[in-house]
Assembly symmetry: C2
Homo-oligomer: 125 residues x 2
DNA sequence: AGCTGGTTAATGCAATTGCATCAAATGCAC
DNA sequence: GTGCATTTGATGCAATTGCATTAACCAGCT
């Protein structure tokens, strides 16, 4: 049977869609239940930990992530409210904001990463 | 370099996430701009067309799709408001609702599918 | 210096979503 | 039949998101 390229694309898209839906739903719930943070917040912490410098500008984070600028702004606001990051001024460019992960944020991320890996192992295996 | 299974899982998840984000964002915008419907609405129409009988119960649709029951209920409400589907009583079980695609809905779906395939060809290639 | 255009982050707003709840209807046990 | 748990779809509510706008700032030009 010869599948047309279009059919293949639609099939692949459905696969991505169902995979994403199942995993993101499970991940969102697990992170929220166990650590009180959402997927977006965890992803942001993840990027901050990945960058060895521990501080990144908002727009760097935004381009690394899949979030819109406004959504990232609010996600960082929630992280700051919970004491997981600090927002600091950037001396080079006073429009920019440095986002710095706190010790609490580091701990939270380490714990949440365990949850993430467990969920991925179960739903992405 | 030997990647641990966990690292592989996280990598795969990031791939899924970035693929989903890019495609769903483009798809959402394209469908909205060209046809005035969202991705969820298109998916619902798609399931209705796939089922040759043209009418399905809400809960059948919900299990086929990635949406929660309440989100589907509202998506169908939007489709009905736009005249793309009708909701009808089910004689067998008066709790259930039959969702029937209209001729307008069929036309809209056929047009939107072209847009979908174009977007997939561009962003999932 | 002054002005214009572009960049950065925050915010008002509308829309969608999921959770919890609700009402109606079904079915099963008695 | 009566009663109780389950199922089905709708709705109130809070939370997140993206778009458009805003304010502050920067860079380049005259």
């Amino acid at each position: 049977m010869a599948a047309t390229p279009e059919t293949n694309l639609v099939e692949r898209w459905r696969d991505v869609l169902s995979c994403y839906s199942a995993v993101s739903c499970a991940l969102e719930r697990a992170l929220q239940d166990a650590h009180g943070i959402g997927m977006s917040e965890f992803e942001a912490l993840d990027r901050l930990v990945d960058a060895q410098c521990d501080k990144r500008r908002m727009n760097e984070l935004a381009t690394d992530m899949y979030l819109s600028q406004s959504a990232l702004s609010r996600a960082v606001a929630r992280l700051e409210r919970d004491g997981l990051v600090n927002r600091g001024m950037c001396p080079d460019d006073r429009r920019s904001i440095f986002v710095c992960i706190t010790d609490t944020g580091r701990t939270k991320h380490a714990q949440a990463r365990e949850t993430q890996r467990a969920v991925l192992a179960e739903h992405l295996a």
